[in-house]
């Protein structure tokens, strides 16, 4: 069951990728609020209400890019998992890296999924649909 108040936080620095996600959301008619953070630091600020408006209620899902400026996705994962308040939030890694190293590091921090960004939008659209379906079914 999808509570329409529960939002999704996208942590992504690439504007085209943000647009891709937004477009995929529109295509899939997702009404839940989509919060966007451009860096890991900004995302943490938004989650804890430090320097940014706190996301309330906390997002039910975080879509995380790994290749981020200032604070890498892996570092962000570490912060999240070591914070008792935030550690329960589901995180799905959405990255362009297919490196086994990144994959292993991500799973070490108990991400729910590791999705390599599809090259074509069509595929991306399908992936987002799957993710949302997965989330709704949970």
């Amino acid at each position: 069951m999808l509570d329409s108040d529960i939002g999704i936080l996208l942590i992504e620095d690439d504007r085209v990728d943000i647009m891709t996600v937004q477009r995929a959301f529109r295509k899939n008619n997702v009404g839940n609020p989509l919060y966007i953070a451009r860096t890991g630091v900004e995302a943490l600020g938004m989650l804890k209400g430090v320097g940014h408006e706190k996301i309330n209620p906390p997002p039910g899902l975080i879509l995380l890019d790994l290749n981020l400026p200032r604070m890498s996705g892996i570092e962000f994962l570490e912060k999240m998992r070591s914070d008792p308040e935030l550690r329960k939030i589901r995180i799905i890694v959405l990255t362009s890296s297919n490196e086994p190293r990144d994959r292993e590091a991500a799973f070490k921090y108990e991400v729910d999924d590791y999705i390599v960004k599809p090259h074509s939008f069509e595929e991306f659209n399908r992936v987002i649909a799957t993710v949302l379906a997965f989330w709704e079914n949970d």
Binding site: V16, T20, R23, S96, E99, P100, E104, H119, S120, F121
Partner: protein, 680 residues
Amino acid sequence: MRFFPAHALKSALLIMLRIPVMGLEWYQRKYGVKPHAPSRIGALWWGYFPVFLVAMLGLANTLYFFRQVSSSERQQVTSAFNGASQDRVLVVSREIESALATILDIATYFEASPQVRRREFRKFVEPAIKRQKGIVALEWIPVVKQQEREEFENNARRSFPPFSIKESAESGELVEASSHSEYLPVLYVQPYQQNRDLLGLDLASDRVISALFARSRETRQLQVSEPVILLDEQAKERGFTVSVPVFHPENDAADGEEEPTQARLSPIRGFAVGVYRIADIVERALESLSPAGIDIRFFDVTDKSGRVELYEHGSRQRTDADLTGRRKPAVRLSYVHDLSIGGRQWQIVCTPIPGSYQPDSWGGWVVMVGGLAFTVLLTIYVYTLVGRARKIRQLVELRTAELIDVNAALNNEILERRAAEKELKELNDDLEYRVVVRSSEAERRARDLEQFAYVASHDLKAPLRAISNLTDWISEDLEGKLNAESAEQLALLQDRVQRMNALIEGLLEYSRVGRTAGSDSLVDTHELLKEIVDSLSPPKGFTIKLGKELPVFHTDRLLLGQVFSNLISNSLKHHGGKKGRIRIECRKIGQFYEFSVSDDGVGIAPEYHNKVFMIFQTLQAKDYGSNTGIGLALVKKIVEEQGGWITLESQPGKGTLFRFAWPAEFNNKPDDEDTFTFPS
């Protein structure tokens, strides 16, 4: 003895030579000057000092023993000579005493008898004359006063008729004695025959005899005269006269009084006289001794003015020749005995005849020569020893010096060796360091490549994806509003973006080979190939035939799959025909499985055989399909990373055959990177 001064001189000389050397050495010790060259003389001196010492000691000892032996021999001879001389003096003295005793006996006889007749006198003296030798005459000479002359002459003529008192005239004849106050006539004389002329002779006229009588009367004792010359028929010989005074008996009234005092001296009665030939006394005495080669001479030394020779006894060992040349003063030996006899001083001098009582000098000289010879030999021996010791020392010094040199050379060599070793070690270290640097450099490069691949995967792919998405959205949003040309261009754009993406993916995959840890699993090759063929979905008209002997073995499934996938897709892509067959087979060669992938396509000209394995090398136009030129390079890399190899057999128009060897046993390559366990 005569060597001593030379010896002393030599010693003194040596000591004087030594003094400056000692001074020099003292100076060197005190002022720390190293005694090297300057004390060479000193060293030489000390080196040969034992030789000198031995020579000196030997010489000194020889001389000492020579002297000892000589003096002992001399002493022996002297004592023998003295003994013999003493014996001679003794017997002669005894003989003389005996002679004197005879006269004393006569005197005593006269004193005991107031009247002695001529015959009684003869009887009394006869045994003495027979017994003794050397008696010239024994006489009785009474003292006759002038007034008694007549009576005396008359009495004497009773026993000897021609008697009268006589004296020697100027002419030498005996005449009737002239008138004197006192007469000393010879009354009795024995032996009579030789001395009858003496009867009646007044001896007071004789100077010598009267002096003798005067002494006798004065001392009232036996007196001996000075030497007299005896006129004998045979020879002129020395003799002496002995007189003993005889006095009238004491006063009858005072008879028995044994204390004669000067005041009560009895008047003289007469003299008992003996005349002796000293030669006979001496010779008679010496008869009792065996000849000993000693000359004996008798002197009367009473007069201070000079001595008078009484007699000379030539040794019975002398020959006549000796007697003639006897004055040879051969020896220093002499024995002198002083004899006090009747108021005279006699001297008996014994001397050895030449050739006797000579010390046997041989002993001394033998000792001397022997000692000197021994000394010389010993000195030579010691000299040789010292010389040898010096030589040995020099040799030792020489060898030591050589040894030091050799040692130094050896040390040098050791140092050089060490330096060389050190250099070698440094070189080695440097080499090792370089190897380490190189390998770390290689590692760094590999890391750089990884980094590049990582960057490429994110930073190249991201904008490409953005382009792709944006292109999609444009064509989606402008659907129906674009003319055909623009639509085709957008499609081309999409296609190139896809190509770019494929290239990047291939590059990433290529770089990832060898970086990732292999994972071991039991792989059924047949099943794996079926999966791959399915995923590749070959076009219609293509058949892929799998061999029957495809193995099931432990290996890295992913890598082996990549190889097959690339080879098969390569065959499909470059077959060149609408229909085709691809065969996959396997056989085991030692530790390897040799897989072969063959097709019946256009084939590859031999000149391109090497090129097909190089990255980004394609033999066809770029716009054909998704051929990136990475596939075969990736295959070659994977196979070689596994320790295998890959070959190509192909001719244009005759198809292509790839063979590759794959290890039959999984060998896990050591990997630096951490391995992660995936959550289930």
